[in-house]
Symmetry: C2
Subunit: 595 residues, 2 copies
């Protein structure tokens, strides 16, 4: 039995080539005219090798060793520095960066797959380069030419790591309450930043020679609230007049003792008269910061998928190895002996868990990669309307993926732990670490409750339902193809998908109508609404998967397993859609008391 993480390359290829049919689209994009399925696979295989050989083995030891804070400095666990240097040297940070910005210019879709691998292999390690893409995108979109010249290349390549400094003790989800301030420093044509920030991932470490903080602070004349926030580049080291390195007023005051991610330092930072440069317009810092946040949200969603994949793999391996009691369906003989006991994979309770996990993680992978595909369309399609529509769809789907996948990732880890029985509770088997590590993803980059409000209030009710209609049109198109099938199971799956779409349309209308007189209504039902859309998306994923698998060779066990899991999904887990629908209906009619 191996509990080592195995990158599910075959499943990744299935989603990219067959579920999304990305290679066909790549051929139509000039920059990717030479990119085909085989090349994409080579990239992912190479990534998988690096991830499995260099990153995954550091995961359990990093959890035990943790980070060390001493004299204002943070030491990372053994091996993290070397693996990161090789990651940068191999060019992995720039996989999807535009070629003219020094990157490899590959699709975001492949970057999303890379993120899944890294999260599954070693979430804590991944935290360090976690903001590279966000900081790069932010500076490319809003940085002055001077900022781009001085900072962008080394951030984009990963030579210097970046942080995002938002949170202060009194201001977590509510950035309007931020207090850090910036005063002009005319001598340097720059600003001086003062204030305290908390929960800063990688605020201090020994992985790179410099650390570049992106900091939200208020100018002296700033209005109150979120419209008075400006964004600054504040490096740990600046360059003096004669080119010497000058230590900036950025100090790490300690690292948090956390539930998990022990190999990722979560820092309390003090900015004291720290030299900084404004990014974008004064008071418009939040808009710049959101460029970082959005890039990060899909990454976080894929952390949920990675955790679920790792948990499923391990539970599956263990369940086929561990022999305890003979289940009703187990063979009377086992390994040649009359079987008093059999692997626990025969026990229905264990099969339910394994099938639930598999159905969840494979459905999520399709949806997560699909979002990556829409980001590519939004960036590369020749038609501006198509680009705009794709961007809108990705923006609608991102909060669903962030919240739904991370909640499922934690739940999957806990259910996988149950398969291990008492062994699951001890560190050695790895699954308890996954439970602890995965939990944070429901909190950061906007709590899952914030995602739900973003989805329902801003993106569904806010835009008159346009983005939702576009999503449902995609789902309906697939449903129609399934309904047309002669295969009864596929036909039923299509009909069910049509019914789910109708339910979503109806309940969305009810929420919209009810909200007119009852302003609290959407906030009461937002979490259930997000989960409802999540289940719709999984049903969409499995209906399309079933259709593809029906067309495939009947003998290929890969597709046979897809068919089995699809049938299971429609018979069991999808019941959760109805549960969420009932809860939303309850929320529409029942005011919520104070608590």
């Amino acid at each position: 039995m191996s509990l080592d993480y195995q990158v599910p390359l075959r499943d990744m290829r299935f989603v990219i080539d067959e579920w999304i049919e990305a290679p066909a689209w790549w051929r139509s994009v000039p920059a990717w005219a030479d990119l085909d399925s085989a090349t994409a696979q080579q990239v992912l295989e190479e990534a998988a090798r690096f991830v499995m050989e260099r990153v995954a083995p550091l995961n359990p030891a990093g959890d035990l060793e943790g980070c060390r804070f001493e004299g204002g400095e943070v030491s990372m666990p053994t091996g993290f520095r070397e693996a990161y240097a090789d990651f940068v040297a191999a060019g992995w940070p720039t996989l999807a960066l535009d070629a003219d910005a020094g990157g490899q210019g590959l699709p975001q879709l492949l970057e999303v797959a890379l993120q899944e691998m890294l999260a599954a292999a070693n979430h804590a390690w991944l935290m360090s380069p976690g903001l590279t893409h966000g900081a790069t995108a932010c500076l490319m979109a809003h940085g002055s030419d001077a900022l781009k010249r001085d900072w962008l290349p080394k951030i984009a390549s990963g030579e210097w790591l970046a942080t995002m400094c938002l949170t202060e003790p009194q201001a977590g989800s509510d950035l309007a309450l931020l207090r850090a301030r910036a005063t002009p420093d005319a001598a340097h044509g720059a600003w001086r930043i003062d204030g305290s920030k908390i929960f800063i991932t990688g605020g201090e470490h020994d992985l790179t020679d410099n650390i570049v903080h992106l900091v939200l602070a208020r100018l002296p004349d700033a209005p109150a609230g979120t419209k008075g926030l400006s964004l600054f580049v504040v490096p740990k080291w600046t360059v003096g007049e004669t080119g010497e390195r000058v230590r900036n007023g950025v100090h790490c005051e300690g690292i948090e003792k956390k539930m998990g991610l022990k190999a990722s330092p979560t820092c309390s930072m003090r900015f004291e008269h720290a030299l900084g440069w404004l990014v974008g317009e004064p008071h418009r810092g939040l808009a710049s910061m959101f460029v970082m946040m959005n890039a990060a949200r899909l990454q976080v969603a894929m952390q949920g998928v990675g955790h679920a994949q790792l948990a499923w793999q391990r539970a599956h391996a263990y369940a086929h190895e561990r022999v305890q009691m003979r289940a009703v369906s187990a063979p009377a003989q086992y390994e040649g002996e009359p079987a008093q006991a059999a692997p626990i994979a025969f026990h229905p309770a264990m099969r339910r868990i394994l099938l639930d996990l598999r159905a969840t993680v494979e459905g999520e992978r399709a949806i997560g990669y699909w979002i990556g595909y829409w980001l590519d369309v939004a960036a590369r399609h020749p038609d501006a309307n198509e680009r705009q529509a794709a961007g809108q769809l990705a923006s609608l789907l991102t909060p669903v993926a962030k919240a739904f996948f991370t909640a499922n990732g934690f739940a999957a880890a806990s259910r996988a732990l149950q398969v291990f029985g008492g062994y699951g509770y001890i560190h050695e088997y790895g699954v308890e670490q996954t439970v602890r590590d995965s939990r944070v993803a429901m909190l950061y980059e906007g709590t899952n409750e914030i995602q739900a409000i973003d989805l329902l209030v801003r993106k569904v009710l806010g835009d008159g339902g346009e983005a939702l209609r576009a999503l449902l049109a995609h789902v309906t198109a697939d449903a129609t193809r399934c309904v047309a099938s002669h295969d009864p199971a596929l036909h039923r799956a299509g009909a069910r998908l049509d019914a789910l779409v109708a339910d979503v349309q109806r309940i969305t209308g009810e929420i919209r109508q009810g909200s007119a007189d009852d302003r609290e209504l959407p906030y009461r039902v937002a979490d259930d609404y997000l989960a409802l859309i999540g289940w719709l998306l999984l049903a969409f994923a499995w209906a399309r998967t079933l259709r593809i698998a029906m067309d495939a060779s009947a003998d290929d066990p890969f597709y046979a397993e897809k068919r089995v899991t699809a049938h299971y999904f429609f018979a069991y887990p999808l019941m959760a859609f109805d549960h969420r629908l009932r809860l939303i209906e309850a929320g529409c009619r029942t005011p919520l008391p104070h608590a």
Copy 2:
């Protein structure tokens, strides 16, 4: 804001005095003729004082410090030894032990409340005395006079702690696979035990001068399987011929690194020619051991309640303190200022969490204490038929409480963590510890999946449905009283309860019928069936609570809150009953593939 655990004495009194009406029954029991509500309250108040002052403060530090293993010995965290000594000196271990066995002879019902407090305050600390009652009951029921004389008094009083040594590496849920062996030692009129045991809670520690292990092993002529297991008392120290203490061949080889319960040593034990004494008949060890297991299961159930209570309290306190953004329903002014932001307790997403937790924990408390009450009836009722029926009911309810309450305890801790946002992930706020500590309760004393099989296969299908009919008769009696009410909400609650009973009857019949041809069916649906019964019991708890609260003074905020929570329970959380019912229906008609 205080995050210190507060024992919910008012709620405990409500359940004991009004929900169960225990004092009225106590008056009819000769031994308790003098026990009234006020006396019971005094006992619980005194317990609460000890728990809050001496046990709870050790919880976070114990988690950080952990246990130390060195040279075969285990040191407990700072303060644990002193608190335990005072616990024993105050007589808490013998609260519900019969007076003629040296105990205080109080009802199990009060013991159950004490268990809830201890678990909430410091689950890890509670693990050490966790087997005192089980070992006492086991020796009282099956020990020879000599064993009772030599070992029982000090185990019962807590002066010596006991362990339960079942698990071996290859034998967890499946005790048939146990290999430890016992050979006769004629010279001592005893046995020599050899073998390895793992996951032994408190296998070694420095709390008491001796540790008494209850060990399952096989005699030389033992048949294979569970019918060849014998139970032995194997102490760490025996007494030599001249009365000197002799170190027995019982060795701790290490302690596990676990997800939580870090202040409770989980030991690997090696028995090497260890002197032991047989408990009960040869080959009948499992029956003796089950006396311990059953006592432990209700304790574990109350750990789930304790964790949920602590998590709810802390989330509630934090939500009323933490100010972030202004929710729709928040006052325009807050603490005299125009409110830009308000406590997060105003946000509907937070209220949903807080109300869900409250509805769960208060409903569970009623059911858990009710089981304690039935244990008292089973032990003290003058009529043998009543005793038998009460025992059967407690035996039906125990696996439901164990699995349902522990799963909810873990879920409650995780949902409470979400209220804290990023702060929830760091150790300081305590809630992440509750997530880690609570997780084990779903695994030990029989995994939750084993409980579900015990419930459905053994206790519902196995006895022809007699115990279930008795339970449903109790529920129906309450439903009838609610339906008769003039209050529309109470009437509706009663009607709903009647409908739930009908659903349970129908689906149980379907399962029974379907199982005739499909032996795997009950195993497919067992987990959902257990949860279904769990939700039925919560509905029963809240219907009765609502009825009592309707009769109470309209102005008393205690009862007003009960009414609000009851209405909430029937509007929102109870939807989960229907979800489980649908899943069982799916399980009845859909065979489960291999996974």
